[in-house]
Symmetry: C2
Subunit: 475 residues, 2 copies
């Protein structure tokens, strides 16, 4: 029986029989929150939203969808920035949204194995808090952590500010529970640090944006909480000095370097001008800034930070720096970085680029992107900021002052072409941490080799032969 | 044209046309070193050994093999312990060995991006030395590092003694070049720390033991070399105290804990009794020992180690400890650990188990395995040693004194069953780091779910539809 032959009400009633009537939403008002997305680039349509409460219910829903040829769009906190979680993108109004948010329990915490087994619908913040309650650290951290879910984080291999020290989301996982397109459950909630029994299947599902299976639970790694954090806000001349400072910091403090975030003066100006109570921590202006943070188990952090700052100044890398003297001051420094993306809206339209290049090439990338953007659109104001330590720069562009916002946004893809051309030439990535989704799907063939695309399609066909999982996303 | 219809000499001459005549070995004497393996459990047969010198040659060889239905067994340093690199295991004497050893160049070193691009045939030692020459550290380290190759390490996702601090082999890679079964080259020699453009294909090939593609080159991560190492040899009562000490060490020194290796008194006795110039570092005997090593970028290591030892003693975890006062003494401590596996041969036959359990369950595993083995075979002498910090114990069993060696070895699989039953009940792995190969292939269905096996087979069929790559291994 196919979706064409199955009466819509029959599908809804069969879904209701699995998850309960109140967990099948089909009224427009009820579905609205699942169909809109934060950037308002994509507007979704769906037959219904289904909210299973257990792995067994997810499996039963997918089995039914397989039988009825119904397409499924898995969704976590609906915070994705590339449209991956939004249904109906390829014109099919009959897709269903599979919301994992009701699956929000910690199944087990094992502080001695340093693992926690969590369900996909937990918010990242709830996972962080559960780790903290167990005296440990779950290091994944990103701006939307209060509303994004760990399932979404894993299916998109989220990045964030702690990648430098702890790796991407995929690096924080030892085991995964996944429901396949036809409802089979692939369960391997392993706590093992070492296991070479066959292919490592979990890495296939992480980063595949719900196109190969639905992640329902995971075993994540816990880390010791650093006993003390040392935070410095540093003014310097250019990204060249910033990169040299990163190398110096890692040589002197190794894995204790937890944060190395870069931002230009214009970024700082935006936050100071628009955010309540934000102020410049340094007495004079600098072209670029670095937020450097060390986290240490021993009491060596303060001396290590001072050593980095002194040697950095001696080598001419640092023009000025201030060290947070209190937790409040540390929060103030972080606010300057964290509010940047939000405050940009007060400067009018913003075109985003989530790009990465090899760390050594970040200065060259920035040297090239400024004149290229100015040539393409005189007056456009670059705000490249982010994770220098990972080579990941959020190369945002604010509109020229006085330009019509829509006229600016209409040039989104052309601006992308200007920036992505430099990224590609420098062996970089056009999606460092946000994924492909719908937004960048048509760009993928331009940046991946034909063989890579063939292999991806072969795997997609092997795991989801009917093409029912998140159709039109990624591939 | 199939292997049946292609005259043997035709295949050899076509291979010679690709790699040069002297790089196609077909005489028994020339092939011998490629067909025997260190443990002498497997004896190979092959039509020839082909030694390509470049990725293009590997691609041409595989394309020819695809056309002629010729099975291919990729081989690195031929140090694998599960027979994965040995041809002719399933009775086919016409397989060819594809030796990667001629591909042994460093293609590029980038100290600022902290990456190095290496070819598959480099020995692990050569990779370590190239990193050291660049002032950096490539942390993967294992007993056979002088002869195993990085390509073999990656295709088997090797472990070793540095996993606790740096992860398994797969965690040390940012990019991979792979030749597929039909000769297509899947090249993504990326240096990026963050790249979410499509499925992460590299993790599929790492750990698949040459059954999905042939790894020809990789971009590996470099790390800062610790400025100082602090090494302690510690005597304690049982694995329970050892686990508590591990947790204490990580709480006090975090990522600076680089090594945490466990061994029983009988293991130390074996080394002392059989290795030249090995001696007990402690004045009295203890039931168990831990080799603990801290590596630090700052000068805090000595104080941190002292703090761990003092608090460990106060909490009753440590009975005695000695800190290495010189590099020579450090080497002596390591020798006690590293020679153990080799020296075991002087105690007669040894049955090996490369198992892991969740870290928290290591003490329980050891509590249970001693009586179980004694019940199964009175007098059998357990030598469980290894990487407590990863939950990976090499649970070797030396034969009872006076028993006939062959009679002992004849009970290999029954002994395995005794040990693996406990491992499986404790949610562990029967192959923590050595892989499946031929040795454990028939055990795989017993420890993986049917769904996991189905997915593995679907991926194998998608990437190697003719089943020509390392046939009969893993699956």
């Amino acid at each position: 029986m196919t979706a064409d032959t199955l009466a819509p009400q029959t599908l809804l009633s069969r879904l209701s029989a699995i998850v309960g009537e109140r967990n099948v939403l089909s009224e427009a008002a009820d579905m609205a929150a699942y169909l809109a997305e934060p950037r308002e680039l994509f507007h979704g349509r769906a037959r219904c939203v289904v909210r299973p409460g257990s792995t067994a219910e997810v499996a039963a829903v997918l089995k039914l969808c397989d039988e009825t040829h119904t397409s499924v769009v898995p969704q976590g906190g609906n915070t994705g920035l590339v449209g991956g979680q939004i249904p109906g993108q390829s014109g099919n109004a009959d897709e269903i949204v599979l919301s994992l948010k009701r699956m929000d329990r910690v199944r087990e915490t094992d502080t001695s194995s340093k693992t926690m087994t969590v369900e996909a619908g937990m918010t990242l913040l709830a996972v962080q808090e559960a780790a903290e309650a167990a005296g440990a650290l779950f290091p994944l951290s990103l701006a939307s952590e209060g509303s994004c879910t760990i399932g979404g984080n894993l299916s998109t291999n989220a990045g964030g500010t702690a990648v430098l020290a702890y790796g991407n989301a995929r690096d924080l996982v030892t085991g995964l529970e996944v429901v396949l397109a036809d409802g089979r459950v692939l369960s391997n909630l392993s706590k093992l640090k070492k296991d070479n029994t066959g292919y490592d299947l979990k890495h296939l599902f992480m980063g595949s944006e719900g196109t190969l299976g639905v992640i329902t639970a995971a075993v994540v790694k816990l880390y010791p909480r650093p006993r003390e954090m040392q935070t410095a806000f540093i003014g310097l001349k250019s990204p060249h000095e910033a990169l040299a400072l990163l190398n110096l910091a890692q040589a002197l403090a190794g894995a204790d370097v937890k944060t190395f975030e870069l931002m230009p003066r214009f970024g700082l100006d935006i936050v100071i001008n628009h955010a309540v109570a934000a102020r410049d921590p340094l007495s004079s202006k600098h072209a670029w800034y670095v937020l450097l943070e060390l986290g240490s188990q021993t009491d060596s952090g303060e001396a290590a930070l001072m050593n980095i700052l002194e040697q950095g100044a001696e080598q001419g890398l640092i023009d000025d720096a201030v060290v947070a003297a209190s937790l409040d001051q540390r929060k103030d420094f972080w606010k300057l970085r964290e509010l940047l993306s939000d405050m940009q809206k007060f400067e009018g339209g913003s075109i985003k680029h989530d790009v990465s290049v090899p760390v050594a090439k970040v200065p060259q990338f920035l040297d090239e992107v400024y004149p290229a953007v100015e040539t393409f659109m005189p007056g456009a104001r670059l705000v490249p900021f982010g994770h220098l330590g990972d080579g990941n720069i959020h190369c945002n562009v604010s509109q020229p002052v006085g330009m019509d916002k829509q006229a600016f946004l209409d040039r989104w893809y052309q601006m992308n072409e200007v920036v992505h051309a430099i990224v590609t030439r420098l062996d970089g990535s056009i999606s460092a941490e946000h994924g492909i989704g719908t937004l960048k799907r048509d760009l993928l063939p331009g940046v991946k080799s034909p063989v890579a695309l063939e292999v991806m399609r072969a795997i997609k066909a092997a795991l989801d032969p009917k093409g029912l999982l998140n159709p039109g996303k990624v591939l």
